[in-house]
């Protein structure tokens, strides 16, 4: 209960600082969702990681030089050291035998180590203004102030504007770099725009999220959004929304449990989003797959059951007691019961005195499935040159996926046949 009143007090901005945290987290996370869309699409996740760890020495040095926690200094320091780190990774990869992933690991640990060393030095020097500095490691949104928020707003607007204006170029660069170059797009400038915006976003973002988790905040929102859409513009917008939401929720939670770092909470929230997206995302989410499989199984059971009532002789329809049906089928007893009940509720079967009798609709359905089965048998024996005794098993599976359109095509291609390869009649 207390938790909810605390959360509520966050969203009513009852404390003045809360407003700062709210807007700061929202803006930072939204921008990193936008910039991160391209980090993800260009498969530069590891570079995001290098930059975020490598801003640490820059922040520490900016503090030592400026002797205070001036947000502008810190961001400039962070951006410079982040920039140097990516430059070094590219340089090493290009001009030495060291491979890209090794270069990344190398630069990341050297810069991060240097940053931690410098921070330790600052702490031991006992400067009063140091408080908040070590929080760059895990992030502390509550350490932000109104100046920070203004700075984030201005810089964030510039970044957003750049990305919106160059969106076409950036998308093409991410999809097909060679082609982009071949039609004369300025690839180098586009890459520069992406590196600069990434470095600056990270430099600002570490305040709320910390260097350790910043790269997760870059990649995860877009990865999340990718479950929901296949359009790059929608992807970017959705990444911004999800990330902003995670920023606000994460900082609200960390505010409520006073003293908890913000970064991990934001990342936990966005990870929950990712998990949910993976499960129910519309495109290739798990839920969709499970649903589809369920539907398929139902359809198969339904059709296999009604097939048991197929009667080649026209004339009166017979009723079968359960045991007769059961012997004809090779289904599990309970499965068959389920199938029969399904058909009954759909009005394909009627039950009188424990005996099942297909209705008119049921007769039609049973013919339809047998027809599909036999058409398919004929089709594969004719066009794939299979022996008649080899076609049955295949048709057992395929009969369920044949749509009316395909059935019509089969009929046409086989010239409306009347007998299947086993010389049984094909019912129409």
């Amino acid at each position: 209960m207390e938790f909810f009143t605390e959360i509520a007090s966050f969203f009513t901005f009852s404390e003045p600082n809360v407003k700062v945290v709210f807007w700061g987290s929202l803006i930072l996370c939204a921008i990193s969702g936008l910039v991160g869309t391209f980090t993800l699409l260009r498969k530069r996740a590891l570079i995001g990681d290098v930059i975020s760890h490598s801003v640490l020495p820059g922040i520490a040095l900016a503090f030592i030089i400026g002797q205070q926690k001036n947000p502008l200094y810190l961001i400039i320091g962070a951006a410079i050291s982040g920039w140097i780190s990516t430059y070094l990774v590219d340089y090493i990869t290009k001009h030495s035998k060291i491979k890209n992933d090794t270069a990344i690991a190398l630069i990341l640990s050297v810069f991060f180590g240097a940053g931690v060393l410098l921070l330790t030095h600052i702490q031991h020097s006992g400067n009063a203004a140091q408080s908040g500095l070590d929080q760059f490691i895990f992030g502390r949104a509550s350490a932000m102030n109104m100046n920070d928020v203004w700075l984030f707003t201005i810089v964030g607007s510039i970044i957003t504007l750049l990305i919106v204006v160059f969106f076409r170029g950036l998308s093409l660069l991410s999809f097909d770099e060679s082609y982009s170059q071949s039609i004369g797009f300025p690839n180098e400038i586009l890459k520069l725009i992406l590196s600069i915006t990434t470095v600056i976003t990270v430099a600002m973002g570490v305040q709320a999220v910390g260097v350790v988790l910043m790269s997760a905040l870059l990649i995860t929102p877009a990865a999340c959004a990718k479950f929901w859409t296949n359009n790059i513009i929608h992807l970017a917008i959705l990444a911004v929304i999800l990330s902003g939401l995670a920023g606000v929720l994460g900082s609200a939670i960390s505010y409520t449990y006073n003293g908890m770092p913000t970064g991990p909470w934001i990342v936990v929230v966005i990870s929950v989003f990712a998990f949910i997206s993976a499960f129910i995302g519309s495109k290739n989410g798990l839920a969709k797959k499970v649903l589809q499989r369920n539907q398929n199984n139902k359809k198969i059971l339904r059709e296999n059951t009604i097939k048991l009532f197929y009667n080649p002789d026209e004339g009166e329809t017979l009723s079968y007691p359960f045991d007769t049906v059961f012997q004809k089928s090779n289904m599990h007893r309970n499965t068959l019961k389920k199938g029969l009940n399904m058909l009954k509720s759909e009005g394909l079967l009627k039950v009188t005195n424990g005996a099942y009798k297909p209705t008119e609709l049921g007769v039609k359905e049973s013919k339809a499935i047998v027809r599909k089965h036999r058409l398919w048998e004929l089709y594969i024996s004719r066009f794939m040159h299979l022996q008649p005794d080899h076609v049955h098993d295949d048709a057992e599976g395929i009969e369920h996926v044949i749509t009316p359109e395909i059935e019509r095509e089969l009929e046409k291609e086989l010239d409306f046949p009347t007998r299947d390869p086993h010389d049984s009649e094909i019912p129409y």
Binding site: L41, K43, V165, F166, R168, G169, L172, S174, F175, D176, S178, Y179, Q181, S182, I183, G184, F185, K226, T229, N230, N231, I232, H234, L235
Partner: protein, 257 residues
């Protein structure tokens, strides 16, 4: 007649290994020209160097007797299909629309005229009914046709195509070659990287045979001979590689100016 593509001493070296070495040729316009050679013989590299995608270490190339930058809108490049990740958030139409960016640039909106061209291009490769299909859900042959449609939408005069027949079935291959022939009949020049020696003679009127160095270049009936093919496909010149790596290692100048 102005030549379509000419290269002069074109040389590209990656990490001390020459990919193409001293390529010198002048190609005719209005023809379907095959570029052939074994794997790793520098075919893709040659196209990329001509398209300015990689900077040659030595030499230069010209298109229609002009600098690439001056004729860029007349040139279209079709990369190897495997060079991109098809799991990109885009539809078939989105990809073909990229062909229009060549004339529209980065900022101008596409208009109904562009949309018409996009549709016609899709029609030509028989992919119109796939317009809204996600590109991640295409077969290899369909991906290839989307790339071709994108190039056609550029409405260029010369097309440089890197292996447009890889991974497509016989029917699609025939459809593509017919399309290329109709483009040729409309006066376009097509440079096509190709692997299959059996079909080469039918497809190409002119050929470039490559094995890091230029083995031969000329009308098909002149260069498609047993001796030249043996030389092209008969292994690499190991001495050439050794010399190239020495040059790089010792930083020797390759050519005195």
């Amino acid at each position: 007649m102005t030549p379509s593509v000419e290269t002069h001493n074109l040389t590209v070296i990656y990490d001390k290994k020459p990919a193409v070495w001293n390529i010198d040729f002048t190609l005719p316009t209005g023809k379907i020209i095959g570029i052939m050679g074994p794997n790793g013989s520098g075919k893709s590299t040659l196209l990329k160097a001509i398209m300015g995608i990689i900077e040659p270490n030595i030499g230069y190339s010209k298109i229609f007797d002009q600098e690439l930058d001056d004729v860029r809108t007349r040139v279209s490049y079709v990369p190897q299909r495997q060079s991109v990740d098809w799991d990109f958030p885009a539809s078939v139409k989105d990809v073909v629309a990229m062909g229009r960016f060549a004339t529209k640039g980065m900022f101008k909106r596409l208009n109904s005229e562009d949309n018409k061209i996009i549709e016609e291009s899709l029609q030509k490769v028989n992919m119109l009914s796939f317009s809204n299909r996600q590109i991640s859900q295409l077969s290899g042959g369909q991906q290839q046709r989307v790339f071709l449609a994108r190039a056609i939408a550029q409405n260029a005069d010369i097309y440089l195509m890197d292996e447009p027949f890889v991974g497509v079935d016989a029917g699609t291959e025939q459809a593509i070659i017919n399309l290329l022939k109709s483009m040729r009949d409309a006066g376009k020049t097509l440079l096509v990287v190709h692997h299959d020696l059996h079909t080469a003679q039918d497809y190409f009127e002119h050929m470039v045979l490559l094995n890091t160095r230029l083995v031969a270049e000329g009308p098909t009936e002149k260069v498609f001979t047993k001796e030249i093919l043996t030389e092209t496909y008969g292994g690499t010149l190991t001495t050439l590689s050794k010399v190239a790596s020495l040059l790089k290692e010792k930083d020797f100048p390759m050519r005195h100016k």
